[in-house]
Symmetry: D2
Subunit: 282 residues, 4 copies
C-alpha cells in the first residue's frame, strides 16, 4: 500500500509532537534518518516537542541519552515525560513522610527529589511503615522481582496510601519480535491482587498534552490546536490522547503497530488517526 | 464523629471548585443552605467554579436549572461541564458526515451544534450509514431502551467510528436509597458487547480541571494550584481528578459517599482526600 | 479452503453432542439438512445429545419448538439446557421465600417450579422485600427495560441474595448481520453497577457436560470420553467447555464464527478445536 | 459473636469435604486439633474428602506432606486436587509435541507424566518452538521471575497453543499478615499482556466437585447432594463452587476470611454459605 510522506503532511503544521519509542528510536537505536527529520522540522521554523511515557529518565538524562544515540539537537524544554507529571503530583500532594518505590535508585533520584526521603521497597521494614506516605512504581529493574513484588503487595495491604504509576505501558519491545514486561505490567499484577486502581500518569491522559500546550503558549503566544500534529506509533496512547485533546494525529508504522494489522487495530479499537504514514523519515 | 467546618477550611483558599450533584444539589433539589455558602464564597472575594459531569444540559440550561431550583447567582463562566469537553472534541475532530446519538433531542441540540447534522439512533437507517461519522452517548432517556440500545450495538458493529461518552457515571441517585442506570452504564454494556473502549469525557480526567484552570488564569492572572480547593462527593471522580491535577481536595458526605462507609471507601480505593467534611453548608 | 466432511469425522465417535443455535438452527429456522444429519446419527447407532445455553424454554418446550421448526425426532432425554442447571441449583439451595426474576412469566414457570413463589421484578414492592430469597435473570423480554432494569439494580442494592444467571450469552443473532442484547448482557450491566459477580450457569462450565455424561453412563454403561464429540459454533463456550471436560471438539462455521475470522479467533483466544468443519450437514 | 460448633452441624451429614489451606492447615502447619476432627469424621462413619486447589504436589506428595505435618490418616483416594484436573486435561487433549512449563521440575514430573516430553521455559529455545504443543503454569518458584516470565510472554506471543493454569489462586498466605504472589497471579499478568484467557482448573469450577462426587458414588452407591457438606475458608472458590454444585456449604474463619469482615464479604459478593463456623476444630 502507498502511504503519504510524513513531510507532505507535516509541512502544514506549526507544531510537531513526536512520541519517542517507535517513532524516534527503537530497540536498535535511533530510527535511521531521524536526525534529518528533526533538522527539517527546526529549519522550517516549526516548533518541536517529544512526548514520552518513559518515566525512568529525567529530562536531562533523556537529552543525554538521545545525544549519545546520535541525536544531539534536542533541548530540555522540548522534552515532556510522564515522569514529570508524576514528579509534579508528588511535589504538590505528598508533603511529609517517606516515599517507597519499586525501581532503580536512578529513577528515584529524579522523580522523588522533592525534599522527602525515599526508600527502595527492598529496604522497607514492614514492621516500621507508619511514616511511609506514598508508593511509586518506577521501573522494571533495579530490584529482585520475586521478593520485591511480594514485598510491595504486603506493604500496600498493610497501609493505605497513594500509589503512583509513572508509566502505564505493560510491556516494551526488546527486539524486532520480543517484548519484556514493563513496570505498568507489574503494577497491573499488584492492582489485580489488591483490587485497587492506582494513579496512572502518561498518555492517553490529557495532562501531558496540556503541559506541552501551556509551554507552547508561553513560547509562541496563542496557538490553535488545529496547527498541532501529534505523531505516535500506538493507538491507545498517542492517538487516543491526541484525538481527545483536540489536535491532529498521525499514526506511524515504525513501532508497535504493524502494517498488516493496522486496519484491524483501528477498526477494533475505534481510535482513528487523522493521518497514517510509514514513519517520520520518509 | 466530628468533622471540621467547610468554612474553616475553605477560608484559606482563593478558588473554590464544587461538584454539582451531591454537593450543591441532590434528588430533592438544592442542598439546604447552599445559597448562603455560595454567597459566602463570593463575598469573601473567592473565585467560584462548578465542575459537573452532567452532560445533558448546556451551560445556559445548567444556569437556568439552578436558578429555578433557587440558586440564581451562578454565572455562565463559572460552569464547566463534561458535555463542553465532548462538544469541543466533536468540533475539533469531526468535520464531516452526520453524528448519531442516543439520548434526548435537547442534549443533541446543545452538544452537536457544530454545523453537522445529527440523527437519533432510532431514526438511523442501518442500510444507509456511510455518512455517519461519529456516535455520542448523551442521556439515559429520550429513546426506547430495548430497541434503541440494540440498534446502537448493530450500528457500531457495522461501522468503525469514534464513539463519545460525555458522562461516564454509571448510575445516579433518584431518591435517598434508589439509583437509576445512567448513560455511562448503558455505554459500558455496549462496550462489553463490542469489546471496545469508547472515548470518555469528564472527571477524573484532567481535561475539565485544565479547562477551568485556564479560565482562572485568564480571570485572575497567575494562580497557584495550592490555592485551589476542589470539593466533591465521589472519590473516583472528584477527588482522584483533583489529586491528580494537583489541587487540594475535600470529600463531603452529602452525596454518593456515606458516613459509615467513608473510611472503608478511602482505604479500599487508595484515593485520599486532603480534607473530609459533612457538607459545604456546615 | 477445503474442510473435511462432518460425517467423515463423526463416524468414528459413539456419542455426538451438538450445540443448538448456530449448529442445528439459526435466525431463519433449522439449518437446511439438519434432519438428515440427526437421522444419520441415530441410524448409525450413535447416541445424540443437544447441549444448549438457551434457558428460556423447558425441555418440553425445546422439544416442541424443534418439532414445530421441522425436527420432530428429538427426545426429551436428549436435551440438556443451562436452564436445567439453574433450576437444579434453585431447588437444592433456595428452600424458602419468594424468588424474584427478570424475564417472561413463561420461563419463570419452567425454571422456578420448585414450590416456591416467584414474582416478576416489576411486581416487587421495594418496601417489602424481606422474604425475597433469590433473584434470577431469565430472558431479555417480558418486561420494560428502562424501569425494570433500574428496579432490579435497586432491589439488589437493598438486599444481599444469590443472583442466578441461567444463560450468560451477552447477545444473540437476529438476522444474518444483526444481534440483540441477551439476558447475559443485561446481567453484565447490573454486575458492573453493583461490583458483584453473579452465579452463571451454562457452557463453558463443566456442569452441563457432567450432567450429560452421567446420563450417558446410565444409558450406555461405561463410556470413554475419547468416544464423545462435542460440536459447536462458539470457541468460548462449546469448544472451551468440551476441551476442558476432556472430550473431542469440532468447531463449525454455520453460526457465530465466520470463516474469514476463524484462524484469527483461534489464535487470539488460544482455544483450539480438534476438528474444523463447515457445518454438520456437509 | 457466637458461632455454632462445627460438630453440631457436621453430625447431620454423610460426607464431609474440607478445603486444605485455611481449614486443615495454615502457614504455621496443621490447625491445632485437626487430627481429632478427622478422627471424629471417620469414627462417626462419615466419608471424608480433601478438595484443594494446590496443584504443586501429587496426591502422594499431598498425603506425605500432611503425614509429615502430623496428619497421617489421610488416604490417597480421599484427596482431590486441581492439579489432577489439569493432568487429566493434558492426557486427554495433548497427544503430541513437548509441553513447556513455568514452575518446578517436581510439579512438572507429577502433572506432565503423560509420556510427552516437558521442558522448563528457561530451557526453551525461542527459535525452535514448532513442536511445543501446550504451556502450563505450575508454581511460583523453580524459575527466575524476571527472565522466565518475559520468556513465557514471548513464547506465547510467537505460537498459539493451549495454556493451562492448574491453580488460579492469585496469592497465598505466608504468615499471619503477609501473602505471596501465587502462580495464578503470574498467569493473570501474562493474560493481561496477551489479552487472552487461559484454561483455568480448580474450585469454583464444578469439575473437582464432580470428580469427587463420582468417586463417592463408586464408594457409597447413590448419595444425595443434600448429605454432602463442603467446608472452606474462601467464598469465591469453596463456597461458590459448593453452592453451584448443589451441596451444603460452610464458611470457616480460620483462613482467608476474617471475622470482622465476614458479613461485608458475604454481602458484597452475594455468595452465601449455608453455615458459618469459627473453624472445624471447635
Amino acid at each position: 500500500m502507498n502511504y503519504p510522506s510524513f513531510f507532505e503532511i507535516a509541512k502544514d503544521f506549526k507544531v510537531i509532537m513526536l512520541d519517542s519509542y517507535g517513532v524516534v528510536k527503537n530497540h536498535k537505536g535511533l530510527i535511521v534518518g531521524i536526525d534529518k527529520t528533526i533538522d527539517w522540522i527546526k529549519s522550517e521554523g516549526k516548533t518541536f516537542r517529544l512526548l514520552t511515557n518513559d518515566a525512568s529518565r529525567s529530562q536531562n538524562q533523556q537529552k543525554e541519552s538521545l545525544a549519545k544515540l546520535g541525536l544531539p539537537g534536542i533541548e530540555l524544554h522540548e522534552i515532556v515525560t510522564s515522569g514529570m507529571m508524576a514528579k509534579q503530583f508528588l511535589e504538590q500532594k505528598i508533603t511529609e513522610g517517606r516515599i517507597a518505590y519499586l525501581g532503580t535508585e536512578n529513577s528515584a533520584e529524579y522523580i522523588l527529589q522533592s525534599g522527602l526521603q525515599h526508600v527502595a521497597v527492598a529496604d522497607v521494614d514492614l514492621e516500621d511503615i507508619d511514616d511511609i506516605s506514598a508508593f511509586v512504581f518506577l521501573d522494571d529493574e533495579g530490584f529482585d522481582w520475586n521478593t520485591d513484588i511480594n514485598k510491595t503487595v504486603n506493604l500496600l495491604r498493610k497501609k493505605t496510601m497513594p500509589v503512583i504509576l509513572a508509566n502505564s505501558d505493560r510491556f516494551y519491545p526488546v527486539s524486532r519480535n520480543d517484548v519484556a514486561v514493563a513496570t505498568g505490567g507489574i503494577a497491573k499484577l499488584v492492582e489485580s491482587m489488591l483490587h485497587k486502581k492506582f494513579i496512572h500518569f502518561g498518555k492517553p491522559d490529557s495532562q501531558m498534552f496540556m503541559y506541552a500546550y501551556e509551554g507552547l503558549i508561553e513560547e509562541l503566544g496563542e496557538i490553535d490546536k488545529k496547527d498541532i500534529l501529534m505523531v505516535g506509533d500506538t493507538l491507545e496512547t498517542d492517538i487516543l490522547g491526541g484525538n481527545k485533546f483536540g489536535v491532529q494525529t498521525m499514526l506511524v508504522l515504525s513501532g508497535n503497530t504493524r502494517e498488516e494489522k493496522v486496519n484491524l487495530n483501528i477498526s477494533s479499537s475505534g481510535i482513528i488517526p487523522d493521518f497514517l504514514c510509514k514513519s517520520v523519515v520518509e
